[in-house]
Subunit: 299 residues, 2 copies
């Protein structure tokens, strides 16, 4: 049956165009397909969604909720004052979760540690790595107290192919693996899933626009990895010359990725006595970073 | 000891600069290192060098000869009339081999088959692939009649990282493997080696200039893979921002490449009854392509 509505979305990579309604259906189907194909969640399962307030994480929360999963939002307030970044991010997250009527837990590093992330990353050459470590730790801690099947993040095809290319340039086998759509539960950490793995950033942007979702479009004022942006721009260019390049880059990777798993060194894990979570060292990198150990050490 | 000559070559990727004499020594050392590290040739071994008349193949012939190997040149005259490409290529090859006083065998497809490569590739979407197949076949046939340890080609770091990036975009495991510095003898085919694997194109260009080697700088008039050029340009840009990127891309690949070898499907090889060489089919792709089978079939 031919749709009589005007096409508002063109997707060269799928050689298709859609009206608003059919695009919405298409998008949900793509997410549903990824969830089934990669065995992310069982029907109606409880899932923690890591919510930044940006379009990607709100889109994944929205789609998972509409697909019948029990969504619990989790937002980390990093206390970034510049551009009112953290205040606006929290506000967008709160408003969205109120709208879909799902709970949102908020963790404020300022309240917890008396200082914003900006103070902690100072002096580090790669602030994004330090911030990522912090968010992962807090997320894992939160998930360990929930009875959820997985933590979902808003990583989409453009994020994943960008990371894949960056990691392939140094053949970093461990990081290559992190771009997989599912990271199984391991060492006491929750399973991580990327339900948007097969949708392009442009599709996510269209989805949130058609759904009327209000999100923070500010980039973090501290992110400025020119090299990473260049790699993404190259992929954009290859994609526009040969639609489907990114998807094929990612999907062919998935077919061979298993050869890398045998490569991973089984790192010895210990329990961090400061936070109680499994870690590569005791105290763990997070507790060292945020000075949590000091509180517990004898004076 | 500090060299008192004026530095004429700067190599940011090695964080070094050289006078002409020391660059020459450095270049030979790099080639020698690759030969030893990857076990390409034993001391003084006989080696067939695939010579196009371009800078890369003349550089590898020159370096191998100076390092004491018994160089036999092999040039394939493809009969490309445009820009006098094939005539000039043959001339440059002949002149160079006369100068180093080493034998050069020449195979003319025009003499052998009565038609140039241009006629054969017509109608093919990827003429370079057809030409590559043709050259590999003729080269293997020649090498099988020689008592040489290996066939050397002039592929340098820029060729290899460009190919690596192109093949990684589709995770083509078999082609990823072809960028290795040594392809062992297999199925009756000679071992293939790339003694320039660790030197950059710019270094090869400097080497032939300082050595006064006359080469054909024309690109083949039929090569125009815009995508491949774009990938190389991206690598150039990354290299100029972070000197050493290409080398690290290639060397880290070498460290993990073994995980792909188990992936290779053991393809069943047969003998082509037309040319007598091992092949995936009988008649082989080369004989089908050049219509050699017709000559032998009953009329």
């Amino acid at each position: 049956m031919v749709c009589r509505e005007e096409a508002v979305v063109r997707l060269p990579s799928h050689n298709a165009k859609f009206c608003a309604h059919h695009f919405d259906q298409f998008f949900l189907r793509q997410v549903d397909k990824a969830i089934r194909k990669f065995k992310m969640l069982s029907e109606g399962a409880k899932v923690v969604v890591a919510v930044s307030g940006g379009k990607d994480s709100l889109a994944v929360a929205d789609a998972l909720s509409r697909l019948g999963f029990e969504v619990v939002g989790f937002h980390i307030d990093l206390g970034i004052a510049q551009d009112e970044f953290s205040r606006l991010s929290l506000e967008a997250s709160r408003q969205f979760f109120a709208k879909i009527d799902r709970p949102l837990a908020v963790y404020s590093v300022l309240e917890k540690f008396g200082k914003p992330i900006t103070e902690v990353v100072q002096g580090f050459k790669r602030p994004c790595a330090v911030c990522g470590l912090t968010k992962r730790h807090i997320m894992n801690e939160f998930a360990s107290r929930q009875d959820a099947q997985a933590i979902a993040t808003g990583h989409h095809l453009d994020d994943l192919t960008g990371a894949l290319l960056a990691n392939v340039l140094r053949w970093d086998v461990r990081y290559l693996q992190k771009t997989l759509p599912v990271l199984p539960a391991k060492d006491g950490f929750a399973k991580k899933i990327k339900p948007l793995a097969l949708v392009a950033e442009e599709e996510v942007r269209t989805y949130v626009r058609l759904r009327g979702i209000q999100y923070v479009s500010l980039a973090c004022p501290f992110s400025k990895d020119a090299r990473f942006k260049r790699l993404r721009a190259l992929l954009d260019q290859l994609e526009s010359e040969s639609p489907g390049t990114k998807r094929s880059f990612y999907e062919t990777f998935l077919r061979v990725a298993h050869v890398f798993s045998a490569q991973e060194n089984g790192r010895q894990m210990v329990l961090c006595r400061s936070c109680g979570l499994p870690a590569a060292s005791d105290p763990c990198a997070f507790c060292r970073l945020w000075g949590k150990t000091l509180e517990r050490e004898p004076q």
